[in-house]
Amino acid sequence: MGQITRTTNPTHLRQIDKKHFVIRVRDDSSSGRVFWLDSFDYASADLDPTVRMGCVVHAGSTEEYFELGPLSALKKTPISIRSIATDKPLRFRFIFNRPGESILVGYTDGVRALDEAGHLGSSLVDIEPTDLHGIAWKLYIPEGKGSGEKPNVLVERSLFPTAASAVNQPWFGALVMPEVMRQIAMAIAKSPSDLDDSETWISTWADFIAALGANPPIEFEEEDSLAQVDWVDDVVRRFAAKGIFKHHMAGALAEMAGEPS
């Protein structure tokens, strides 16, 4: 019998690309938060139309499972997810099995809903409106290192109902984003070798750091926190010097001076 390695797949289980899914989430006055499957391109995913799809919606320690039916006739009406925590990142796991069988033929993990403007965003950081109960924002840095992970800025929904409203707000750009960059840079500084490991989320930041013109981080000595902080400061300085953040700073200053926006 052949040895099982990381690249063998004895179960023939397929990982289906996230790009085939379009998921929407909305706050519904009667049902609380709801989600629905806008579309799933099963032909492009090379799946048989008789295959059945299920979905596990999860956030923090809360989760719910929903059966969505056969791929040829998927349920696309809104489904209440009132029981799912709203102060943790919302993610979807999709699983596929043939009718009458429990063994899976495919799965997709970590699918996100499109925001209200219909954008998933290809940025290195997600911004997600949610209920933070008095806190304006907080950064969620992935606990794991997997390439499917991504830092996530959770923002208080009553302040920023959409990701776009946060991104376009000068004070958010001037006060929040540099601190977000600082925390992410510190995570990179603690594990610089991950920039070269394509199986980690940190590796996706290598080009960004290079584009800022910052030196790549070296393997800092464990106790050399000053060198880490110096490198992080340099990254944040270069980040804040980008045109968009200068623009936000100018907008914030103008607002303080009482100038019309």
Binding site: V56, G60, S61, Y65, I95, N97, Y107
Partner: protein, 249 residues
């Protein structure tokens, strides 16, 4: 005595906390009706302060079926720290550890009565018992049914892991494997498999126990849709190390 559910103020929580630090006198139940140190919780929930519970499952069942009936905002109840402190104080007599020989009862560690940090909130017995009964019904009994301690090792093992806390397929399987017909838990279920056991190919200690089931479950979940399988189907699917629990009593 039936009264409306209240919540302890910060000062009230401090007084309860001070008693937990030094429980040499009887619990400060006079706080429960102190207008200055408590507030009535919105929702008109009625609770019987004279109720007694022989295990945490009974408490959770009482709160789920007779106190917080038809409440739909689970998160606002979970977030009410003062209310859970008040309920813990109200039923503190049922929430003490019970020494087998001496019969002396004393409080458990403080996180079992008060929310000291979000990370340890799952240990607040009354809050988690109510939540688990809501989520899993009778299947929650396997974690909460210990007659000796309101927070046994089963409760800790089954609630401390985020990925199984709310998993609706996991709890019936754990119940089917580990619960006795009378609701108690089979002997040896929580035994830890030590390093020495792992190095000994003949040792079966800890195999198939509750400490290993979450990992096995997650492993099988990668390749099976466990969510649509019945608990006995899943139990049959599990590896040989679980065989003795399937059959044992």
């Amino acid at each position: 005595m039936i009264i409306q559910v209240r919540s302890l103020s910060e000062v009230g929580i401090s007084k309860f906390s001070a008693w937990l630090d030094n429980p040499t006198t009887s619990a400060p139940k006079e706080l429960l009706k102190d207008e200055m140190l408590t507030d009535v919780v919105e929702g008109e929930y009625l609770i019987d302060l004279s109720a007694k519970f022989s295990n945490s499952f009974e408490l959770g069942e009482y709160l789920a079926t007779q106190v917080f009936v038809g409440h739909e905002d689970r998160f606002s109840l979970l977030a009410n720290h003062g209310m859970w402190a008040w309920i813990s104080l109200a039923f503190v007599d049922s929430l003490m550890s019970k020494k087998r020989n001496s019969g002396v009862e004393k409080p458990l560690a403080k996180p079992h009565y008060l929310i000291l940090s979000p990370r340890l909130a799952y240990r607040l017995v009354a809050r988690t018992a109510w939540d688990l009964v809501n989520l899993h019904g009778m299947a929650a009994k396997v974690a909460l049914g210990s007659p000796r301690s309101p927070w046994g090792d089963m409760a800790e093992q089954m609630t401390s892991r985020q990925e199984i806390y709310a998993h609706r397929s996991f709890w019936p399987v754990a119940n089917a494997l580990y619960a006795m017909p009378d609701g108690s838990v089979k002997k040896g279920v929580t035994t830890q498999r030590t390093r020495r056991d792992r190095l000994d190919p003949k040792s079966k200690s800890g195999l198939g126990g509750i400490r290993r089931l979450p990992f096995t479950f997650k492993q099988f979940e990668r390749t099976y849709n466990l969510r649509q399988m019945a608990s006995d189907e899943i139990a049959t699917l599990l590896p040989a190390e679980y065989a003795k629990w399937r059959a044992g009593s």
